[in-house]
Structures are given as C-alpha cells and as structure tokens.
C-alpha cells in the first residue's frame, strides 16, 4: 500500500530564527539555502511576517518587501508563507479595513502565496477582513486557531472555531501551538475532531514549538489523526524554544504507513548551511536550549519569561518572580482565559507584574483595561465583572461588544500623507504600510535604507544598548509599548518595554 503523504512547512527562514536568535538573521545568510529549500519538496516555506518585518527595519536596515521579492526570485516553485496577526497586520494595534486590504494585496503581489492568519483572542471578527482580502488577491487564506489550555478550552470549542473558519471560506485550518502546550492525545483528538466536523477535503495544518519536549510525539499523533501538513525546522535551526527538527520528523515516519515528499539530501544541505551561519549569531542565541515542562503550568512562552524577569529586576524586585508566575494564571482567569500570545501574553504578564508590585489591580495598564473592555475583541470566556468595572473606572471608557476595527475611521490617506513627508520614503504603498505599522521606526529606516542591509552576524553594532538581544524573542519582538497607567484617576505614561 502506498503511504499517505504528509506535507511539511519549513520554518527555517521565519519562526525558527525568530525563536532561536531573536529574528536577527540577515538576508545574505539565507539566500545560499534557497535553492535547496525550493527543490526539497516542501508544501510551503514560511519566510515572512511575524516579527521579521519589525526586525528588518529596526535592526537590519533591510527593506522587508525587498527581502520578500528576493525570496520569490530564488524560490519560484514552492509557495511562500507568512504569519499575519489579522486586523493587527504585523503591528501592535488594530488597523482600519482599507489598510488591511492593501497590505494583503501588496503581500500577494510581492510573492506571498499562503497567509496564515490568527487573532490572539480567537475572535474571528479580527481575521475576516484579512481572509477576504487574501482571497481577493488570489492567495491561500489559512484560518488559524491559537491553541491554549484552560478550563474552557475544550476540543469541542476549537472544533467549533474550525467550522466557523470553514464557513468564512478559509482554504485550510492551522492549529497554532506557540507555547508547546499541545500534548499527544490532545493533538489527536483535536485534529480528528476538526476532520470529522469539516470533512476530509479541508486541509488541517499543525504548528508546534518544541519547548516542552513532547510535541514531536504530538505531531505523530496528529499524523495518525489525519493531519495534512506539519511545521518543522531544519535540525541546525531547531529545538529549545524553536521547533521540531525536519529530519527527525521525516525519519520517524519510516514503516508507519505515512511518508513525506521531502528530499533528505536537500534538507541536509540546508542543515549544514545554517549550522555554519548560526555560529556567527551566538550573541543573539536563546539561553533556553533544553526542554522546559514547567511551561505547562505557567503557559508563559520562554521569551516572555525573560521579559518579566527584566521588568522585575529594573524595579529592584528580581526575587519576586515566583509570585508573578503564581499571579499570571489568576489574571488570565479574570480575562476569561485568553490564549497567551502576542499581544495578550505581554498584556497579561505586565499586569501580573504590576499586581505583585503594587497590589492586585491597584494599577491597570491602558492595554489591560482595553483588553477587559473589549477593545482587542471578544475573548473566549466570561470576564470577571469586578475587574471589568475597575477597568471602566480606571480608563474612563465604556465596554464595547462590536468588532474593534468598526470604531476606526478611514486612515489610509492620512497615513499616506504622513509617510510621503518622511525623508527617504519612496512613495510606494509598501512604504506607507511600513510607516503605518511602525510609525516610530520607519522614519529612521527610510532615512538610512540607502546604506543597504546590515548583517548582525558579521558586523555587530557597537552601541551596547542597540546590540542587546531582544529578550522577547519568543512569539514576537515586543515592540515599543508605552502603557497609559491610570492611578487613582490620574493617567501616567509608563514605558515597560525592555528595550528599544
């Protein structure tokens, strides 16, 4: 009997280096692997989106759109894939629909074939505009379930979300387990449940990290349950807070009745390429290299942990980490058990730090108040009404139930005028989008872009504050977030972001 084919999405060019070396990989350290990647037989190659856009303009003086065009030229055969945060795009706020539509259109034009679209709260209203825009642009719209574990997150709840994504018209479903929480039996039941509810024709993909050490087994169980495609990273760019090794996934299927189409010789050439490259990026390397099963309790992604440790140390409270870890599940419960992923992980984590330092909910960040009042969308569970009331009083804003982006006025023309006024802006829609998503970083980038990409593996910066690796490498560069902290009715501007 012919084995059933399991497809693979290779993560080396996006999530792998985002998770392992703080998204610092420069384009000229990737081009050498592209021919082998393109010929290897992957279903898709994730290579754009997530934190790569931010890292390109913030650290690498590299135009993310130019990077995408380079990839497309060097990998014409295999669909290129990006990670998109729904209505947030790749930024840290909601954008008005026209901006979302233009972003999706431009991404497709420049080479993206597969758009993996997620929302931190699993509020599908936050991804419907992107899904529609991607389909209008001729792309593959992958609807994503942000996986988490809580008393209310049952298999049935996630399966229902998959069915609603199917109704929305997505081309495939992705279960995205960014904190390596999905255990083998849960993976089996979820994939099986989605397949039964949505029918065999709707593709199911599974994205897992390897941090807790159990998820290669979960991939095996997902394969047995009927998964169509899994995400892995070439072994020299794998493990720790990253992903399971591509080669191990291929090898483990031997004799099982399942197989991949991926050419091991090509993969091993990619492996050797990155083995040599990575040595030069050791200064950015994640300190986490083994497995960490205590995450099953805290659910905090590794990078978020380091962020909070930094925050505590800056407050002279480095010894209170355990209290914060104990506080996080309580804060998360009050939010109605939001999944912890950018930006909810930062919002919940920071509020937990404040609760420990100042007393529970004595101080609320503006973001936490917004989360409680519905300004990020509708979460999965019931919020604690007392904390919602506090948020209302602190922030002086009403709770909302509509789609957050419905409150936004058309903004493209304004963003365009502002962008075009900047030195070095080339007037393209791509530049306007860069400015829209990173208004604080874009001006400097536009001004220095002509100097060309900077390779941090070869040419480390000299300024200490600038070369400091992003501690928040897991999940995202945690952007420059300035919190509006309202204390006894008076608002204070507090920047808790660990680096800029």
């Amino acid at each position: 009997m012919e084995p059933r084919i399991i497809d693979i999405t290779e993560l080396a060019l996006r999530d792998a280096h985002q998770s392992l070396i703080a998204t610092r990989l420069g384009i000229d350290d990737m081009t050498g692997a592209c021919a082998d990647l393109d010929e290897a037989g992957y279903w898709s190659i994730e290579c754009w989106g997530g934190a790569t856009y931010d890292a390109c303009i913030r650290y690498l003086n590299e135009d993310p759109w130019e990077r995408l065009r380079t990839f497309k030229k060097l990998m014409p055969k295999t669909p290129l894939q990006m990670l998109l945060r729904g209505q947030n795009l790749l930024g840290y706020r909601h954008y008005q629909d026209e901006v979302v539509e233009r972003f999706c259109q431009k991404s497709a034009e420049n080479g993206i074939g597969v758009f993996r679209i997620f929302d931190a709260l699993n509020d599908l209203r936050n991804i419907e505009t992107s899904v529609r825009a991607v389909k209008n642009a001729g792309g593959h719209a992958q609807g994503t379930i942000s996986y988490t574990v809580s008393p209310i997150h049952t298999t049935a709840l996630f399966v229902d979300q998959a069915r609603r994504l199917q109704d929305m018209g997505v081309d495939s479903i992705c279960v995205k387990d960014m904190a390596a929480l999905i255990k083998p039996q849960a993976a089996y039941e979820l994939v099986r449940g989605i397949k039964e509810a949505c029918g065999p024709a709707l593709r199911v993909h599974l994205h897992v990290h390897s941090t807790t050490g159990v998820t290669l087994v979960s991939l095996m169980k997902a394969v047995e349950a009927g998964v169509d495609c899994v995400d892995t990273a070439v072994s020299s760019m794998s493990l720790g807070p990253g992903h399971n090794p591509t080669e191990s996934f291929i090898e483990m299927l031997e004799g099982t009745g399942f197989a991949t189409r991926v050419d091991m010789e090509r993969v091993q050439r990619v492996k050797r390429h990155f083995m040599n490259v990575l040595e030069r990026y050791s200064e950015f390397q994640s300190k986490v290299t083994g497995v960490e099963t205590e995450l099953f309790k805290s659910q905090i992604p590794g990078g978020m942990l380091s962020n909070m440790e930094n925050q505590l140390r800056q407050q002279g409270a480095g010894d209170r980490m355990q209290e914060v870890l104990d506080e996080i599940p309580l804060v998360r419960r009050d939010t109605g058990y939001v999944p912890l992923v950018t930006p909810s992980s930062q919002i919940v984590g920071t509020q937990a730090v404040l609760n420990v330092l100042m007393g529970r909910y004595a101080v609320l960040t503006g973001e936490f108040a917004d989360l409680m009042l519905g300004y990020y969308g509708k979460g999965p569970g019931e919020k604690n009404p007392e904390v919602v009331e506090m948020a209302h009083r602190h922030a002086g804003k009403q709770p909302i139930t509509c789609r957050p982006a419905d409150l936004l006025q058309p903004e493209w023309q304004k963003l365009r005028s502002e962008a075009l006024a900047l030195e070095g802006c080339n007037g393209s829609d791509e530049d306007v989008l860069t400015y829209a998503m990173f208004p604080q970083v874009a001006p400097k980038f536009f001004a220095t872009r002509h100097e060309g990409p900077r390779n941090l593996g070869r040419d480390p910066l000299t300024g200490v504050s600038e070369t400091k690796p992003a501690e928040g490498h897991q999940g995202a560069i945690t952007g420059p977030i300035t919190y509006a902290v309202t204390l006894s009715g008076r608002q204070h501007k507090v920047t808790v972001a660990p680096y800029q």
Copy 2:
C-alpha cells in the same frame, strides 16, 4: 478506567552524565539529589557500572564501591541499577567465570538490586555466567538486547533472542538502543513481538538515547505496544547524546490511558539540583547538543565520531573523515553486522581508519583479528570468509567457535596476589576486582585513595593532558587499548587510544 502504569528508570546518576559530561560527575554533586530521587517513585535508579567505575578511579580518585554504598544509604527505597558488560564486567577483556561470579556477588552485597547485562555481539554465552551469578546473589538479572539496524537484524531475530534470554531465566528483558536508532514503528513491533513471544508476565524495558531526535516518539509507541518500563533522564541532564527528559515523558502521557507513578514535584527538584551542578562541568560538556539524524546511516555513536576525528588528525589526515564514514558500513558488513557498542564500535571504527589510511585490510589490529576469529564471541551474521582468512594469517591464531571465556584458566588467585602486593590495596575482594578490571590504573588509585575524592567541577586539574575530557563519552570511556598490529607477519605494538 484506571490508566496502565508505565515504570521509569532514572538515568541521571549514570548514563546521563556518562553521555553528557564524559562520566565526570563527582559523588558530592549527586548526594544532594538522592533523597528526592529515592522518594520520586522510580522503578529503579541507574547509578553504577558502565564507564562510572573506570571514571571514578581514573579521574575522580573515588572508590566506586564506596560510591555505591553511599547511594544505597541515601536511597534505601528504590532499587539501584547497574550496567554490566557480561563476561567483560566493566573492563575491556573477558574474565574467567570465578571473577565474574565474585563481581556480581560483591555488587549485590554493596547495594545493586538490578543488573542490566549485555554483550556487544548479542552472544548470550557471554552473559549467562553473570545472569546465573546475579540470581545466586539475589539480584534482578535483566537480559539485554543490543539494538542495531542491519539487513539481518529483523524483529524476528531480536524476538528470538528475547525468548532465549527468557529460557536462560532472566527476570526481565531490556532493549538497549545506545545509538538512538530505534524508530517508532520498529519500537512498536519489537516490544509487541517480545510480549507476544514471552508472555505478558516477562517485563520489557526500553533504553533509548535521544541523539537522532525521534526516540521519544519511539517510547510512546513502545508504551502502546505494552512496554513495562522506559529509561529517561531528568530534563537538566537530558537530550543531545543523552536521553529523553523524564518530565516530558510523564507529561506526554496525559489523557492517553497510560500514566507513571513518578512525582513531578520531586523530579523538578532533581532537575534544579543538576541544573546548578552542571554549570561547573562545562569543560567536559559534549559538543553535540542538537539532534543528528545522519547517524541513521553511519550508526556511529557521537562519542565514537570524535574519537575517530582525533585519530585521523593525529595521522595528519583530518580531511578523510568522509572516507572513514563510508568505510565503516563495509567493515561492519565483513564482521557479519555486529552492533556498534563498546567494544565493537571502537574495533570497527579503528579498523575503518586503518583501511582508509593504509589500504583495505593491509593492516589489521589485533582486536579486529580477534573479532573476526571469534575471540569476542559469535556475532549475529556470516563473516566475510576472506577477511577471516586474513585475520587468521595476520594474527597466527585459529578461529574459535567455543565460548571465549572457556579458554581462560582460573585467575582469581593470581589477580588477588598481584593486587595485594600493591601499595594502598586494602585486601578486600572489591580492591582485587578493581585491579582485575583496571590493572594499569588501579596501582595509582590505591596509592592516592587516602587523599579522598576529587571533584572536577570545583577543582579542575592543572595538567592539560589529564584534564582533557574523554572524547569517547558516548557508550564508554574507551579505555587504554593497545593494539597489536601485524604488518607483513611482523607484530607492532600500536596505541591508538586517544587519551590515558
């Protein structure tokens, strides 16, 4: 329904540090974890044998018997387990039966409860004396299958070996996969096959390394196939050339209908203990930290690779590694596909190096000739008769088919007299055994033993040649092997061992 209980053997105190830090862990870095290990609910704790005996007297100035008594005192509840190389004991030659019997008796008296007994060639005649002696001493005799992959190593062949071990009267069977070669489906079929052939009452244990990245999945499949006990190591002492993390194994069973009795709180305390300890041993740490799937082809354990690289460099042929890797499978085929584990891995590897450097079989090591002529026992397959004939001509010895130890004369009294004549020997049978197994190292150890154990984590040695870590950390310290190389009928004494 109650979950089926899967037992765990914890490897932290033996194979984990042997694989990860060249067996250098000193006793005072282990005692602090013993109470938690003993209370955690493990089926057994592997803590003795393998290369630990050699390392104790060679590097740590520590009496291995005293170490064992310390363990027994600190861990009175949980059976202590050792790894025993059958008729080789913990040394590098065959011993006459009386020596084997006395060693097993003394090990049981000093605290060992479970004896895992293996032979590199899977020649059961090489383990029958130890099995009998262990049972006479009241110990648990675990008969071991050295797992390997070759055209002749079918599931049926291994199952037949298990049945013959059962006939021999072993208390349990262990499948020992020292090079991380066992894939999930193979693990399932082998465990299922043994259970069907030997009945449900005979316990089956599975020992795997993690080097290729696939073996936690293999453990899952073994569990589904009916395995009784698996070997893991606490996460801070796991992965790379080591083993799968205990915590990940426990967590991954959630919801599967299987569970362990191991207390996660205790395991996490052990984890933190070794996390802190290991930092001090970084100089001995294995350079391999990720996964290495190319092992599926070469089958060479990681440590053996470094050994061969050293040998080649010393000969000014550091660039010929690929030729050696290609030669090894050919040499192994000529031996009738011996498993590659101490000492066969060293013998085959060294011969492959000589073949590449001097021409194929232009020079034979004495050990390789002995292997071809049956002096290590009977291997699994047909040997290449031409190479057997060369071995016969080179070594001037006849091939044998009897049990190798049958050729040995009683030697205990002679060993005893020689040992007692050494300065510092305390006259005990234990000291005689130390001398018997390590005649070149014992004299110095006896003379300096009164100075007490040396902790290499805290007090590194100053002499460079002595502090150099054993490159052959995987599988074993590769002892001081002097080869008798016969070239054109003339014998030369050649020492290829990489360190002493």
